[in-house]
């Protein structure tokens, strides 16, 4: 790793904090508050899903046959693994193992990329079959409310996908900083914060998977 950017254990924490530890704990608290709001944000789509599953149970059962549970399961495994590599990356940063941290972050990024690729495959298959929201819906189906399911599906997974993309951007930023040796025992706050965000993204998918792909 670059010698010019070797970081000592002295992190210059912001002036309004009493110590680097104080800054870290405050950032962690703030990040959890932000995650709570992300949770509330996604809660709305789950309520929407629940209401329409309550209204149209058979339609939901019919609809899920159009989804590939294998791809969904693969995506679940990809995200869980990425969560694991992420937390290993945080640990490596804590232990001043910059190279290890860099590779864990890269692995996380690659798993995320894999997730998006699989998502892309799924989406293009749906579009090809005309299983898309409302006005463009063009597929045979017993239930006339089928477009609602696909509206929900695209909206929920699309919103989640945007969060994955944002996470990938953040991971890329971290990868650059890890490569430059910027993290140490005294300062690994950004890695921890992005880690927390990333786990939330994983969490949302843990619920999306059974609800969308494994109905009935």
């Amino acid at each position: 790793m670059s010698q010019a950017n070797v970081v000592t254990n002295k992190h210059h924490f912001a002036h309004h904090f009493a110590s680097a530890s104080h800054e870290f704990e405050t950032c962690k608290l703030g990040m959890w508050f932000f995650l709570a709001q992300e949770l509330l944000f996604f809660s709305g789509v789950f309520v929407m899903y629940a209401v329409f599953r309550y209204f149209y149970p058979e339609m939901f059962i019919e609809a899920h046959h159009h989804l590939s549970w294998k791809l969904g399961a693969l995506n679940t495994v990809l995200l869980i693994t990425s969560s694991f590599t992420m937390v290993m990356g945080v640990r490596a940063a804590q232990l001043r193992k910059s190279r290890e941290c860099f590779w864990h972050l890269t692995a996380t990024f690659m798993f995320a990329l894999g997730f998006m690729v699989v998502k892309g495959i799924e989406y293009s298959a749906k579009i090809h079959h005309g299983l898309v929201p409302s006005i463009w819906f063009n597929a045979p189906g017993v239930n006339e409310t089928l477009p609602i399911f696909f509206g929900c599906y695209f909206f929920m997974t699309g919103l989640h996908g945007i969060h994955v993309l944002v996470g990938m951007g953040l991971l890329f930023w971290l990868m650059i900083r890890a490569y430059r040796n910027e993290f140490s025992t005294g300062y690994f706050t950004p890695v921890e914060m992005v880690g927390l965000y990333w786990h939330l993204v994983d969490l949302i998918w843990i619920f999306l998977f059974p609800l969308l792909y494994l109905i009935g």
């Binding site: 309004h16 703030g30 932000f34 709001q37 996604f42 709305g44 006339e144 609602i148 509206g151 909206f155």
Partner: protein, 539 residues
């Protein structure tokens, strides 16, 4: 006195870049103050416009559609651009850290980002206003909002952007209260303003994301037609209302909690007495925040939701009035045997007690199922929420502004004109809105462009009252701006308050205090804390 000038945060750096790239919560608070006052002016302009149109039932200068657009913009600007940020972003930003004895908020860069997001959202909304302004009402109910040809998408996206500003401010303030209190300042030694800002921040963090999602769903409904709100596709338009009010009801508590927080400050300082029932007021702020999430259906009693849930919501609505009432009783009791000083901020306190009480009572009236069937969507509702939002929040905001103006800018405003303005606003407000209770109960519907002749006198009175209000605010604008340049320089503690902000200079130095404060007393303990004639603590 000369070090009050040279030490101030205004002097620490100069030039427009020092403002636009500042990380100082005080400067950010002032930038917010300026922004929300412009927003208030814009929203007020729309209000005057619509009240002018309503002077007669015949068409005056607005078509029916334009009238719909004007009241929608009045609502949207006032709610999203003015009142939600108002007290927290301006006075909260400036004073929360100082009251806690901190040097800044927890995340100063996030604070600046919040302001930029606010400005971006505001510009976005102005862009939407001139590109087919929405006519749906600020509540954007489906199915009209999913089918009308006005720029619903642009306006909802701007509200989405503004929501982020609110969320980030909430995160920042919560972290600040948890982590940046000065040594000795336990939770129960915090001023009640800080408690109020904290409770508000909790609601901002938990409720606003649901609005963000609701608006995105509305956009999705318009763009890709997912059909969740469209009955012809199997959707349910009432679902939109559930989603919308899940945020918007707690939102009204985002509006009133900081206002109540200011009241506790005013009553203690201008009665020179310890607050009665500090713990009750502190806990009532938290319980209002909690219960506020349980009552949203009272906006939907006649929407077609089940009668069972209507009854539930009605009961819970009665409950939420209790902590508010506790606060009002405690403030009034604080005045008892106090040494009352009728300065301008205290005039606003007294106005608030009167106006907010009326607003609160009428809220309970509306929360009663049987009465609401008759009163829903009438002017009674309009009057109720103006009494709480304007008679409550705006009055409290003005009270706080006049209280803290000398601290923020180091200048005193002209007391005589400030009194005139306060009286004009109080009178103007009542003349505008009291008749609306009466005509609402008599059946005058809200959001109506025209009306039966029997309501005409009420509308005339209401419009005339709006002119009093307008004049009162214009006078205020003039004397406040005048004070910035020509006002008498203010001492550190013009009112004899004992919370921490009065122990530093007016305006404060860059890092808020010349010496890091250590706290050893309750915030309003006038018996223990002694201050000399210059307002400095001497024990």
């Amino acid at each position: 006195m000369s070090d009050t000038v040279s030490n101030s945060f205004f002097e620490s750096s100069k030039g427009w870049k020092s403002w636009l790239f500042t990380l100082d919560h005080k400067r950010i608070g002032i930038m917010y103050l300026f922004s929300i006052m412009v927003a208030f002016g814009l929203g007020g302009f729309f209000a005057l416009l619509l009240r002018l149109e309503l002077l007669s039932p015949a068409q005056f200068f607005l078509t029916a559609k334009q009238y719909n657009q004007v009241f929608t913009l009045h609502g949207a600007v006032m709610v999203f651009l003015f009142i939600i940020p108002s007290i927290p972003a301006s006075l909260g930003n400036f004073f929360l850290p100082i009251q806690l004895g901190a040097k800044d908020v927890a995340f100063p860069k996030l604070n600046l980002l919040s302001w930029y997001i606010y400005i971006f959202g505001a510009l976005f909304s102005i862009f939407s206003m001139v590109n087919g302004a929405v006519d749906t009402g600020w509540t954007f109910y489906t199915p009209y909002s999913s089918t009308t040809d006005t720029s619903v998408i642009l306006m909802t996206l701007s509200a989405f952007i503004l929501g982020f500003s609110s969320i980030l401010t909430g995160v920042n303030f919560m972290a600040t209260v948890h982590k940046l209190r000065a040594p000795g300042m336990t939770w129960f030694r915090m001023p009640l303003f800080s408690w109020g800002i904290y409770a508000t921040a909790v609601i901002q963090v938990l409720a606003t994301p649901v609005l963000a999602l609701t608006l995105l769903l509305l956009v999705a409904e318009r763009v890709i037609g997912i059909g969740i709100f469209d009955p012809s596709l199997g959707g349910d338009p009432v679902l939109f209302q559930h989603f919308f009010w899940f945020y918007s009801h707690p939102a009204v508590y985002i509006m009133i909690l900081p206002a109540m927080a200011i009241m506790s400050e005013l009553v203690t300082t201008f009665c020179k007495r310890n607050i009665f029932g500090y713990t009750f007021i502190a806990y009532s702020s938290i319980s209002i925040a909690v219960i506020s999430f349980l009552v949203w259906g009272h906006h939907m009693f006649v929407s077609g939701q089940s009668e069972f849930v209507s009854m539930l919501f009605s009961l819970l609505t009665f409950l939420v009035a209790i902590p508010s009432a506790i606060k009002v009783f405690n403030w009034i009791t604080t005045m008892y045997q106090g040494s009352i000083s009728l300065k301008v901020p205290f005039l606003y306190f007294l106005s608030f007690i009167f106006l907010f009480s009326i607003g609160g009572f009428t809220g309970v009236v509306l929360g009663t199922l049987s009465l609401d069937v008759h009163l829903h969507d009438t002017y009674f509702v309009v009057s109720h929420f103006h009494y709480v939002m304007m008679g409550g929040t705006v009055i409290a905001f003005l009270g706080g502004l006049h209280y803290w103006w000398p601290k923020m800018f180091g200048r005193m405003y002209n007391e005589f004109w400030a009194r005139i303005s306060a009286v004009l606003i109080f009178l103007g407000f009542n003349i505008t809105f009291f008749p609306q209770f009466i005509m609402g109960a008599k059946g005058m519907p809200r959001r109506y462009y025209s009306y039966l002749l029997e309501y005409h006198p009420f509308h005339v009175a209401s419009t005339i009252g709006s002119w009093f209000l307008g004049i009162g605010f214009i006078i205020m604008l003039v004397y406040l701006i005048h004070s910035l340049r020509f006002g008498r320089r203010s001492p550190a503690n013009p009112w004899g308050g004992i919370t921490l902000e009065w122990q530093t200079t007016s305006p404060p130095p860059l890092e808020n205090f010349l010496k890091d404060p250590v706290v050893d007393n309750d915030p309003y303990d006038y018996e223990k804390v002694e201050i000399d004639e210059s307002g400095k603590r001497c024990n």
